[in-house]
């Protein structure tokens, strides 16, 4: 498992959606009118594919996947 440290990227969605919740559970400041919590979760949804892609890239670099 240690050889696949890039898999730690897969935990990013857990941090964004669940770990960060106490900090982002708020309406203000609004961003482009979007309430802060909604905006944060939208951001997390867009960043999840990036995190999984980084895990995949790590696997590729080692020539395994």
């Amino acid at each position: 498992m240690l050889r696949r440290s890039s898999l730690l990227w897969l935990l990013v969605p857990y941090v964004l959606y669940l770990g960060a919740l106490p900090l982002v559970n708020r309406v203000h400041p609004t961003i482009f009118g979007l309430p802060f919590l909604l905006c944060w979760l939208l951001l997390a949804t867009l960043l999840t594919p990036v995190a999984v892609w980084l895990a995949w890239r790590g696997d590729r670099k080692r020539g395994r996947a």
Partner: protein, 539 residues
């Protein structure tokens, strides 16, 4: 029948015919290339590429709940509904690891679902039957939810021309109409139609509704923030205990459950290669952006059609649609929602049939040679049973649905931990499962979910895990002489052989060769002649 009803009903009817046709066509298009064994029907011959797998798995995840429940929760509670996005994203991410692992295990040993995976892991065919029966109890309510969901949608968008009881029957008839014949591949084909319509209609609604009712997004969001701020953070509006700890525990539990959910696993096993699944894990979370649309529209409905209560709030989105759009558009949006019932329902029925055909009926010597036929019969029976219960005793399945997801979660230690950890014993896994499942039932049916603000299923899973570990360490060991490589799954499944040269002309040959090997494994042509456990897959 009014003009509007005639138009919307015609649009709907035409698309339903198209759906069954498309599902059946998928069999024709592929006939002759592979044998017609159980694996061909259950898991699409393990041959679906990245696009089909994406479409199929997105199709499974986006159910009638997305149109009805998501909008209804958004309308009633607000923020708590966001758990759906959270758990799906997290689950898709760890699916990057779990998907290829389960795919490789099933391919190596010629398995078609979680029930026979467990049977193979612990070397006990009866354990597969136990899991199949338990999983069926958890899945039947989902079929009913799709039937009732589609019933409500169809009777609403037909302006009442199609009665709700007929609409229930239509849901059953259309789904059964193609899935019995075309299996997972047919579901994938229908998913293509579904995704085009879902993405198109929700993309349109996301812009149209705020502009039509509020003069633009800025105004809509300003009013939301000013007047409904209670809906915009946890614990939401009058949500009865669905605060932050509920959100975190539920999302976490469901993210573990969704990766072993039998329908998800059917999608995994349908993939052509391990790398197909890895690519899919990257692309799939993007689909979740679409889930935000019905949630937002549900909140928009707060201003337009205030005062919906009970089951009516599930129609929050459709009230807006009927109020603001012409009949043909209502019909098209209704079709998208109906397909969001049909595709998941097809896969639910398919996995029930597969589990019974392989793991229950397969135990009976006289039936073992006819696993595909047996599976197809069970598909019809399971659908018919869910339909019958919808008419006669709807509350039975509604009550069962409360334990569905949390009950299914109790399989996680037995399946996932068991596949990577040899010291997990049969007695350990089984004791954990029994205790966990009993605890879920006890807590849910006595209205103690959430317990202390935490999802009861997660508490049961923790107890399940402790029991499983304790019994494995302290209880009797397994008498199992098979080597680890035979029993455990490979966490580092190499990119599938078909994928090494993917994209080149040579790649296509390898794909065909791999598919051929698979057809051999499942008994080419002759109905399930070699589909028994001893089938022995390619090395």
């Amino acid at each position: 029948m009014s003009g509007n009803a005639a138009i919307a009903t015609s649009v709907f009817g035409a698309f339903m015919v198209l759906t069954v046709g498309l599902g059946l066509l998928s069999v024709r298009a592929d006939r002759g290339k592979r044998g017609g064994g159980l694996a061909e029907w259950s898991v699409g011959g393990r041959s679906l590429g990245t696009v089909f797998i994406w479409v199929l798995m997105a199709g499974e995840g986006y159910t009638s709940f997305s149109y009805l429940g998501a909008a209804g929760w958004g309308y009633n509670y607000g923020a708590p509904v966001l758990y759906v996005i959270a758990y799906m994203s997290c689950g898709y991410a760890i699916g990057y690891l779990v998907g290829p692992m389960l795919w490789g295990y099933a391919r190596q040993h010629g398995l078609v679902g979680i029930a026979d995976m467990v049977a193979h892991r612990y070397g006990r065919p009866w354990l597969g039957a136990v899991v199949a029966v338990g999983a069926t109890v958890c899945l039947l309510p989902y079929i009913q939810l799709q039937i009732t969901g589609m019933g409500v949608v169809v009777s609403t968008i037909s302006y009442g021309a199609i009665s709700i009881n007929w609409a229930y029957f239509l849901a059953f008839a259309v789904t059964t109409g193609f899935v019995v014949v075309s299996g997972l591949r047919g579901s994938a084909w229908v998913s293509v139609l579904k995704d085009v319509l879902v993405i198109g209609t929700l993309g349109f609604l996301a812009f149209y509704v705020p502009v039509h009712y509020f003069g633009g997004y800025g105004n809509f969001l300003d009013r939301l923030v000013d007047e409904k701020s209670q809906w915009l953070t946890f614990p939401g509006h009058a949500s009865g205990g669905m605060g932050q700890s509920w959100f975190v525990s539920t999302s976490f539990l469901n993210s573990l459950t969704v990766v072993i959910f039998p329908t998800t696993v059917a999608g995994y096993l349908g993939a052509r290669s391990a790398d197909t699944l890895r690519r899919n894990a990257i692309a799939l979370p993007l689909y979740n952006v679409l889930l935000l649309v019905p949630m937002l529209l549900g909140m928009a409905a707060l201003f337009v059609v205030p005062g919906l209560v009970g089951a009516d709030s599930n129609l929050a989105l459709f009230r807006l649609v009927i109020d603001s759009l012409p009949a043909w558009a209502v019909g098209v949006i209704g079709v998208a929602a109906a397909l969001s019932s049909i595709v998941p329902m097809a896969v639910f029925m398919l996995v029930i049939g597969t589990m019974w055909g392989r793991s229950v009926l397969g135990l009976v010597p006289r039936l073992a040679a006819h696993q595909k036929l047996g599976s197809q019969v069970v598909v019809v029976l399971a659908g018919a049973l869910a339909l019958l219960l919808t008419y006669t005793a709807p509350n039975t399945l509604v009550r069962l649905s409360l334990i569905s997801y949390e009950g299914m979660a109790q399989l996680v230690p037995m399946l996932l931990l068991g596949l990577v950890w040899r010291r997990m014993t049969l007695y350990g896994a089984l004791s954990g499962l029994v205790v966990g499942a009993a605890l879920v039932c006890a807590l849910v049916f006595t209205d103690r979910d959430p317990l202390w603000g935490v999802n009861a299923g997660l508490i049961a899973l923790a107890v399940n895990l402790v029991v499983a570990l304790a019994v494995s360490f302290l209880g009797p060991g397994d008498q199992d002489d098979r080597p680890d490589a035979e029993v455990l799954a490979d966490v580092e499944v190499p990119a599938g052989e078909a994928d090494v040269t993917a994209g080149t002309a040579e790649g296509a040959d390898v794909v065909r060769a791999a598919a051929g090997a698979d057809a051999m494994e499942t008994g080419t042509g002759t109905e399930g002649a070699r589909e028994g456990k001893g089938g022995g897959g390619p090395p």
